[in-house]
């Protein structure tokens, strides 16, 4: 009984804090006040204050996480609504995604060399731009550490969602499909949640980019690993 109570309590707590973070975010519009990160930080502080472990919180958290699968399925809806524009731009989309994968591999390789990061962590960071289950599989093939990958995917997603509006503004990206392709191929589902907020076309392109980038990354790794 206490289990059911605490599960419901943690779900409710997450909803209330997220609602609060959303309204703060709407008022101030600061990139790093990302409502996801803000909610997580408040929850971590509460857990630490009351000496609650993550596994206790996870009882409620895992129920929220389990809804993530069906949400990715639903990304087919914006994809369907914008299918004409997307098929019309097939070559630019594949071009943009290819550029994204090359940039990921090159930048991670060079930056890890520069910072003297050890081999295992380097291999775990190569798949940081793609959705978690695919990233974990890529890391297994490369011989990296899965937990490091999950962490890197998470951090990348948060950065991607927070930085997307700024990158688009400074880069003077006008086309909505181009915005979505950049966001989805750099920051998977978490970035896509930001693209969906911008407009439907960007959301559709981002959802598409997320799937294709993951698939192409795995294929590249299968060929070269």
């Amino acid at each position: 009984m206490t289990d059911i109570f605490s599960t419901l309590f943690f779900i409710l707590l997450t909803i209330i804090i997220f609602k609060f973070s959303l309204s703060v975010n709407n008022k101030f519009k600061i990139a790093f006040l990302n409502p996801i990160l803000m909610t997580a930080i408040i929850i971590i502080i509460i857990l630490k204050l009351f000496n609650i472990t993550y596994s206790d919180y996870y009882k409620g958290g895992s129920i929220i996480i389990s809804a993530l699968g069906p949400i990715v399925v639903v990304l087919a809806v914006p994809l369907y609504k914008n299918r004409d524009d997307l098929t019309k731009n097939f070559i630019p989309i594949i071009g943009g995604i290819t550029a994204s994968i090359i940039t990921t591999f090159v930048s991670i390789t060079l930056l890890c060399k520069l910072f003297g990061i050890d081999e295992t962590i380097f291999l775990s960071l190569l798949s940081k731009s793609i959705t978690t289950p695919m990233a974990v599989e890529s890391t297994k093939m490369l011989g990296g550490n899965e937990t490091v990958t999950i962490l890197a995917v998470m951090i990348t997603g948060l950065f991607g969602a927070a930085l997307a509006p700024m990158i688009i503004r400074i880069g003077k990206i006008k086309n909505n499909i181009a915005k979505g392709i950049g966001i989805g191929s750099a920051a998977h589902a978490l970035g896509t949640s930001k693209a969906v907020e911008m407009n439907e076309e960007a959301g559709a392109a981002s959802g598409l980019a997320m799937g294709v980038t993951g698939l192409m990354t795995i294929i590249v790794i299968i060929i070269f690993a």
Binding site: Y58, Y80, G96, S107, C112, I121, P133, T156, L163, G211
Partner: protein
């Protein structure tokens, strides 16, 4: 009451498609790993394109889910409080690497797509 029933049916449709995606994913996992949710996305797209499923049959629930998509990432983000210990020694370097790489990747990808689309549109005019 009717609205609750309608929402329940919409959730059920989405969930069934997701489960089929997971099933197919496990069938082909020996050949290539594609997550069940990505396969589910393709299935739903095919059902909509093939007019098997009308958009109105799932639209309310799906737009609600997409609107609050970020919420569902909160618990995994909270999980960082446990897993960061693994990279404690080089955590700052890793965060800087991910930060720089994320900006580069997103910028290059946006820009390349944008340039290719405007090049294509110019050629058509």
């Amino acid at each position: 009451m009717k609205k609750i029933l309608k929402t329940a049916i919409q959730i059920a449709i989405i969930y069934i498609i997701y489960s089929i995606g997971n099933f197919i994913s496990s069938l082909i996992s020996n050949v290539i790993l594609i997550p069940g949710n990505i396969i589910g996305m393709v299935i739903l797209l095919l059902l909509l394109t093939g007019n098997v499923l009308k958009l109105s049959m799932i639209e309310d629930t799906s737009s609600f889910m997409l609107k609050y998509m970020g919420f569902f990432f909160v618990p995994i983000t909270v999980g960082i409080m446990e897993s960061y210990k693994l990279i404690q020694d080089s955590i700052f370097q890793i965060i800087i690497i991910l930060f720089i790489s994320c900006i580069l990747v997103m910028y290059v990808s946006c820009k390349v797509t944008d340039l290719l689309i405007s090049y294509k549109e110019k050629r058509h005019d």
